[in-house]
Amino acid sequence: MELALDLSPPESKHYRSWSERLRYVARYSQPEEIHVACEMARAVGVTSLMAVLNRRTEAALREFQIWRDLSVWAVVPNMYAFIRDLTDRGLVGAALARFLRLRPSAMVATGVHALRELGPLARSDFSAGALWLSQMELAAVQGLRVNRVFLHPQLTEIALAGRATELFTEFARRARSLGLEAGLVTHNPVMAAEVLGGELKSFAAIVAPCNPKGYKMVPDRSTSEALLGSRRGQFWATELTAGGSVPVATALSHGREFGLAGAVLELRSLEAAYRDSSRAPAGPR
């Protein structure tokens, strides 16, 4: 079973307490600490880094890739930041604000595309907007070797609920046209299989909850496991430790026994896995 590290902003995670949150956020706001996490990840066998990209993470990963060959999986667009803008700028205003922050070459590349889609974008078309935002973020990435791209789960779940299959189809097609593999992150893999049918195979990796307690596995554990078991080579486990209630070693064993393609570790799980390998002192500094 392969391993990936989830390097999404630590501000976007849940913690046991406010003080634990501050420890993680403060620590992993530092580029050198992100590098430390990446080195720890390599030491425990992680081969890919999965991240909702912001400037801080992107810069740290770009430096890290200078001397280490870990692949990067980008989750786009950064919906947490986008939703903050939505409350006072509106959908079009928030998207335009992002566009205007692009460097000129990226602006030209995504602007040409936007012109082709002007009608749907002006109508706040969901798929056109999601794809444009995704394309803008990918275009803004400079010098980072990204080899897999995932649609942000907040868009994925909405699109699944609305059975907006064209968004997934087009997302996968555009990823391929950029020489990237498309992936899917969802807490609703059973719905994804139902909605996407044969299109599911367009996604090289599907990241979905899988743990020994059935936590967050909807609609229920047995239905989820039946799906994951039928596509073992495609599924990667997230929510691996069931919110920290299962030891990482146990959680990893469960994933291996289940025969999944891989598992995505959060920073807390990474630290525990690293401690288990007896190479580091305990806890965040």
Binding site: E11, H14, T87, E157, G214, Y215, V218, V246
Partner: protein, 349 residues
Amino acid sequence: MADPRPLRCAVIGAGRMGMVHGHLLQVYPGTELVGFADPQSGAHERLASQGLRAPVFREVPELLAAAQPEAVFICTPTHTHLAVTRECLVRPVHLFMEKPVATSVADADTILTLAREHRVMHAAGYVYAHLPIVEEARRLLAEGVLGEILRFSAHAYISEVFGPKSGWFFQRELSGGGVVANMGSHVLFILGWMFGRIRRVMATTRSHASTVEDSAHALLWFEGGVTGMLDTSWSMPGAQMLDYGITIDGRQGTLVLGREQILLHLLRPMGDHPEGWSEIHASDLPADTAFDISPHIGGEAFYRQLRVFETACRTSVLPFCSLDEAANTQRMIEGIYASAASGQPVEVA
């Protein structure tokens, strides 16, 4: 025998929350999304592009006449809730109201009175109360695990406002207030559900980024004798989603409610709970959600909230999240603003 027909539901207001409820109504097996009402041009195309296939009407009366809903989800800006309620109750439709239910206690009370007069079921969208771990904490308190409850401290923080903001959400007369009404109210609702009616409030608020209050400290006295403090801010770095917690002290122990776990410290064993520290994790509670519309914000609580409302509509038994309970929350909100303005404790009738 339960009515096998899906409950016909309509959504009024096609903004962010209207969209979320619309999707859930389509996915949830016990409901049918029969229409939207939204005055904005292009709403139909925008919603259809997300797969929200119900017809869209510009006005509420058109929606009611054409779609014949049995229940409506009111997701318009807060200051319109009372007027929309009046428009809806020309016929007996059950009401689900996004939070906060009103910009004042007077409006919240009028909405509640109207709902009672028309004998419809009603609920408010304080979604975090539907998280299994929150329900479990409330159950433990109701069971008396802590004995007599004495005091609490609570927080609700998010990183959202760090400078001037525009839009209706940041105008007090339209949204009902700032962080207290729109974020802290989630925790105020849970506190009211746990401890009962509010009696007195002493608070300070500050506007340091936007034109509404961006942070607040509130001392709350409940009628049952429980007292405690809420600290809330939407200008706190480090939390992209609402981070909340409640620590409750009783004569027989302490309960610490977090996002995914309850820490319990008991002075003596109580039922299945041992003396000393123990933990109840959300993963130990029964799973009962068929679709997770927003795994990182609210999570399964949205689905569970809908089930509670649907059950109420079918059984004619008011849910715990009724507008009665929301009116108590509104009293806390208004009490906090009144106390902050006067610098004095405020008795809440």
